[in-house]
Symmetry: C2
Subunit: 377 residues, 2 copies
Amino acid sequence: MREPDMFEVFHRSSDSRARTGRIQTRHGSFDTPVFMPVGTLGSVKAVAPNELEDMGVDILLANTYHLYLRPGHEVIRELGGLHRFMGWNRSILTDSGGFQVYSLATLRTITEDGVVFRSHIDGSEHFIGPETAMEIQAALGSDIVMAFDECVPYPADHDCVASSLRLTTLWARRCRERGTGKGQALFGIVQGGMFPDLRRASVEALLEMDFDGYALGGLSVGENRQTRERVVAETVPLLPEDRPVYLMGVGTPEDIVEAVRLGVDMFDCVMPTRNARNGCLFTSKGRLTIKNARYIRDERPLEEGCTCPTCTRFSRAYLRHLFLSREILAYRLNTIHNLYYYARLMEDIRTAIRDDTLDAFRDRFYAMRQVQDSGTG
Amino acid sequence: MREPDMFEVFHRSSDSRARTGRIQTRHGSFDTPVFMPVGTLGSVKAVAPNELEDMGVDILLANTYHLYLRPGHEVIRELGGLHRFMGWNRSILTDSGGFQVYSLATLRTITEDGVVFRSHIDGSEHFIGPETAMEIQAALGSDIVMAFDECVPYPADHDCVASSLRLTTLWARRCRERGTGKGQALFGIVQGGMFPDLRRASVEALLEMDFDGYALGGLSVGENRQTRERVVAETVPLLPEDRPVYLMGVGTPEDIVEAVRLGVDMFDCVMPTRNARNGCLFTSKGRLTIKNARYIRDERPLEEGCTCPTCTRFSRAYLRHLFLSREILAYRLNTIHNLYYYARLMEDIRTAIRDDTLDAFRDRFYAMRQVQDSGTG
């Protein structure tokens, strides 16, 4: 059942579709546009829940597919749900498992019932369909659950995408009919590839089912940025203004700034966390590759003025040393910085929308960026 | 030069050589008996300095050999010393590099000058002798520096150990002559293998040189516990009562409880940190192997009543899941718990010495221990 008034819009930008708002769940509320760090296996890799709290993270994403395989949703249910299991008392959104089934699992057989696949861990055979996806997410007890969808490869022709969309729509209806666990909000996922008519058809079908929010799926799958932004720009205006819009798996800071202007309220991406573990750090001047020899004696923080726990205590020289030595602390300190960067970016974006200065913010955002490692850093 | 009054003894146990005291360095003071976590490369693996502070760690050990190779002591000197480099403002003890040269490096050539060896990282050739060891440690700026010694393999015959001891004694004298950096305390290392006459000869030679403290080296190298305790019991009484006694590389909780009774003031060991990363957790009831299937639905903390950040927020079930999934957070949460366990053990030991109840503490300590994983844990 749809949670009434889970989403409240505060302010609409005068010169774009950007808006600020607040989403309420059983585990508190958070302001939008929001970025959700990814906690695949019930842990945002390399950081602890208290660190996420300290940086103002109010919602994170967990992966249904991964938690279904390890430790198993029944175990998590018995232990009181994912929040309790992972020691996180704020909001959680779970994906439906669909994307991972297609991107990680092997030997998939797809029927109208769902997908039979083999685990990427041990090759064991499993089945997830729309009802299963809802059941697993109910066991996890996340606050926002996603409908089970099919993800088509990119590029794919119109017939192929249309046929996949038929399945996604069918499954969305079955998710809606199956219903969520108590107090969970359910988002539908718009598919349709890069084809405007299919995206429109997908939206129309989903709107009939009346979801609590709408996600744009099937993007960030290899298409170029212009194509993605076109699809977002064409699709968002078709969605109801009183429901949150979630762009799945996006993206870079640039992607987010652009998508916010197109009316997107929610984002998730492994980029800040995965890049951190690869030694790629975000700053307002661009990206910094910490292993670069130029940082060997660099006493400065990753970014001057950054108030994150990494920048207030550690130098680039130390972070470089930790990273090259593969010290576990490197992954954590880098992750903390990148997540702070994203959290601050979203905060700045929200402020700019509220102040109706988003265009000026965007100009400044691009003006400051340079290639950190070849510049003066 | 010896720092006058760096060590103050507060209380001596009435029924053993155990004692409490306090050691003062340029970076604060700490109570003894003390356990020093090992921060090999300028990071106690998997934890951050603020976490060490929170658990009451006042001194840690860093490895000269490792920091000499990466990032290099000159880099650390230029960056203001190891404390500043690693963001740690409490005390640091550095070893001399000797033990690692023998245990990690390859193709060693030992002369009276020192040791030529190949790096375990890239095979590059290096030299460390007593003067170099002092110079590197001065560059690191640690609070307590160790004399450069030779470590003999175990077992080794009397002639072999005697010949090695000649070198250790010669090098200790050259370390003393070379002198430390400003404000650093210098500890001599007693060698002599398992031979009482050689240990005695080593002590006598070192006492002439008047070190700020004395370490027992060449133990925990494969000898059994009885042998080690015999050597400690025979050697400690030969040392001056007004200087700290440091048993290098020891040990298990049991080892520490016994060695404290023999008069040891300082310990270091990779055991709590390394075991943590291998999923072996210390509790007052014994060790717990977190991957054990019996913990899959275990909602209890690692140890009931433990006030560490791990036990106050996370269940055994979650820690098992993180460990089996190789999540980075597993290493950190496990390490925090084990270091808390050691910190609390040392605190309990100090309290028992002060209260003259060490024997009762020891009885209780052994009575509580059982094989956690085969018991009711």
